[in-house]
């Protein structure tokens, strides 16, 4: 595709540059010119062009999946991601086809040699199922479980082990759950110079075949004791291919002497390729999830001591994937008798959302301590500051001030709502939404915002929450809101942490796809004059 008169990539739009870098990395040819700019193709009909590499089981590029458009266009990140996903799917299918072709050849040879074709067929089915089942795994433990299930009816090993090299070059056992605790602890993390089947395969980069105990004692003496203890007699360990050198090993162990035939060895090598890929994905997913989670948690505040009020908060990331970040809560003592409570939701559910949330929260905190203005005025300033700083962040939020009532009776809540679910006032009489709402934050041409106020009798609870608590793809929002009101009213007197736990369990449970933030404040109960209150209020 590229030609001598291809213009350099400099000056192409950022998405294409990023993508070109990706392609070059995948090709492993530094400095290769990739013809990605619109209008450079031979056929002038094709003006927009994006490409993703197809790879074989060893990560070698065997072709490209390309998308063309007849007009110049900017490929969005989402489109490029989709193209990469499609390419990954195509690569999987091509790999499966190659493996099946190999199996068919072996099957033919096996039939000619009078070996059971059924066994070969079982093994080809195994690889087919492996490619499907491993594609759905998200953690290293999932991968171990899937492999064990896959080979139980064919190779029928007594134990399936996966070990990975850690960052310090030690061997880390991933499959300890299926071993007795003492054995698992012994091999949890050990020097890769040890003579075990896994360490030998990882270090040597070639399969280690130990068909009987004589071979185990000769080649893998460090593991011999464990073999005797577990009643194992034979093993085979194949390296898990990595970008440069093996990243670990896939090991099978039998309780009888076992000689792998050539076809079985080919199966193990193919399986190791699938497993390595699945483990890479699991590692990638967990590192991204953890990073977003850590960032989000770091951005959430420790709650201040706000006696005589009770205060409790809870944040829960979405139960699947990397849908973390964006929701926040905050409580700031503005002056000695005024407490500010905030809940908000920055759009998006990823690390970028968590970072934007951090910026917005900090700006709002600054305004809160710097400006003793009404909630509506502070939110308006937040909008204008965002425009002035060219950091317009789309978010919904409620800002509320809690202060003593004018005549010393109970308290007053003043709030302003920027496109956020209504806070909920919970008393012994029931749960009622605190209404009044203006548009969300982040619209250009910020408009006037309104303040609202409400007297809170002693012992009142106000719950602020994000839409993750009530929003689902299935049920209507009205029904979900009603469920929240009923559930909250039924627990009006519960200690605040228990109330939040209960609401979370009933409404969000373990299968919600959005993150959830809640913060609740409770005013002190009525003090009887006759009991001699020492609070002097």
């Amino acid at each position: 595709m590229s030609s001598a008169d291809t213009p350099p990539l400099a000056g192409a739009d950022p998405a294409l540059e990023r993508f070109a870098a990706l392609v070059r990395t995948a090709l492993g040819v530094p400095g290769a010119r990739v013809d990605l700019r619109p209008g450079n193709l031979q056929d002038q009909e094709l003006a927009g062009y994006a490409s993703a590499p197809l790879t074989d089981a060893d990560g070698r590029v065997i072709g490209h999946l390309r998308a063309f458009d007849s007009v110049p266009r900017q490929w969005s990140d989402a489109e490029l991601r989709l193209l990469a996903d499609l390419a990954a799917a195509c690569s999987e299918t091509l790999r499966l086809r190659a493996a099946n072709r190999l199996l068919e050849q072996r099957q033919g040879r096996a039939a000619a040699q009078g070996v059971s074709a059924d066994a070969a067929f079982d093994r080809s089915q195994l690889l087919l199922r492996a490619s499907v089942a491993l594609a759905a795994t998200g953690t290293a433990e999932d991968v171990v479980d899937v492999v064990r299930d896959l080979v139980t009816s064919t190779l029928n090993p007594a134990y399936v082990g996966i070990s990975m090299l850690d960052a310090d070059g030690r061997v880390s056992l991933q499959s300890g759950r299926s071993l007795p605790p003492g054995v698992a602890a012994r091999w949890d993390l050990y020097d890769s110079a040890a003579t075990t089947p896994s360490a030998l395969a990882t270090r040597g980069g070639v399969p280690v075949l130990l068909p009987d105990m004589a071979a185990v004692r000769a080649l893998a003496p460090d593991a011999a004791g464990t073999f005797v203890e577990m009643g194992w007699q034979s093993a085979a360990s194949v390296p898990l291919p990595g970008p440069g050198s093996p990243v670990g090993a896939l090991t099978f162990v039998w309780k009888q002497p076992y000689v792998l035939d050539a076809a079985e060895q080919a199966i193990l090598a193919a399986l190791a390729g699938y497993v390595a890929q699945a483990l890479r994905r699991a590692d990638y997913l967990s590192s991204r999830e953890n990073a977003a989670r850590v960032l989000q948690t770091a951005l959430l505040p420790d709650l201040p001591d706000v006696a005589p009020f009770e205060l409790a908060a809870r944040y829960e990331p979405a139960s699947r994937g990397e849908h973390v970040g964006g929701d926040w809560y905050d409580a700031v003592t503005v002056d000695e008798d005024r407490l500010a409570v905030v809940v908000g939701d920055v759009t998006g559910h990823d690390m970028r959302a968590a970072a934007r949330m951090g910026r917005l929260r900090s700006k709002l905190r600054l305004l809160l301590v710097d400006r003793h203005e009404s909630p509506a005025a502070v939110l308006h300033r937040l909008d204008t500051a965002g425009q002035a700083l060219r950091d317009l962040i789309t978010a919904t939020a409620v800002l509320a001030y809690l202060q003593p009532g004018p005549d010393g009776a109970g308290h007053v809540l003043n709030w302003s709502n920027a496109g956020h679910p209504h806070p909920l006032l919970i008393t012994a009489a029931g749960a009622v939404p605190l209404g009044g709402r203006d548009p969300l934050l982040g619209l250009r041409a910020a408009r006037r915002r309104t303040d609202h106020g409400r007297h809170l009798p002693p012992g009142s609870t106000v719950l602020f929450y994000t839409d993750g608590l009530i929003e689902t793809r299935g049920a209507s929002l009205d029904d979900r809101e009603r469920l929240l009101w009923e559930t909250a009213a039924a627990r009006a007197g519960a200690p605040l942490p228990d109330l939040l736990d209960h609401l979370y369990a009933v409404l969000a449970g373990d299968d919600h796809e959005d993150d959830v933030a809640m913060i609740a404040i409770r005013t002190p109960p009525a003090t009887r004059r006759s009991s001699g209150s020492d609070r002097g209020e």
Binding site: Q74, G419, L443, D514
Partner: protein, 114 residues
């Protein structure tokens, strides 16, 4: 690989009015691509007003809403208009809760469902 789009967009343009007809679930998986598409329509030299028709939209989340806010702001900068029409009940509720229903959806004569 689970991020297969569950939404579609089709554009018709006439006399400076570009109507983007959306269907399906406008959520995190759709947001980036949708915003790119709406921006491109707004930036088309002939466009005066870009209208997203939500008749076929079954679900809208905060990320999808973020794409509409981004398009609205982009149109404001470019001196164009961006509007939403025909939201179904669940989508209308999200727009109301976010306080943007009156901002994004032009009031129509005979619109008594308010």
């Amino acid at each position: 690989m689970s991020d297969i789009p569950l939404w579609t967009a089709a554009v018709t343009a006439r006399d400076g009015t570009h109507v983007v007809t959306l269907t399906g679930e406008i959520d995190l998986a759709a947001a980036d691509q949708l915003l790119d598409l709406l921006r491109a329509e707004i930036d088309t030299p002939a466009s005066v007003v870009v209208i997203a028709d939500l008749t076929g939209v079954t679900f809208l989340d905060s990320a999808g809403l973020g794409a509409f806010v981004g398009a609205y702001n982009h149109a404001g900068l470019a001196g164009r208009r961006f509007q939403l029409v025909n939201p179904g009940r669940p989508v209308k509720r999200i727009l109301e809760i976010s306080g943007v229903y009156d901002v994004f959806v032009p009031s129509q004569a005979g619109d008594d469902d308010r």
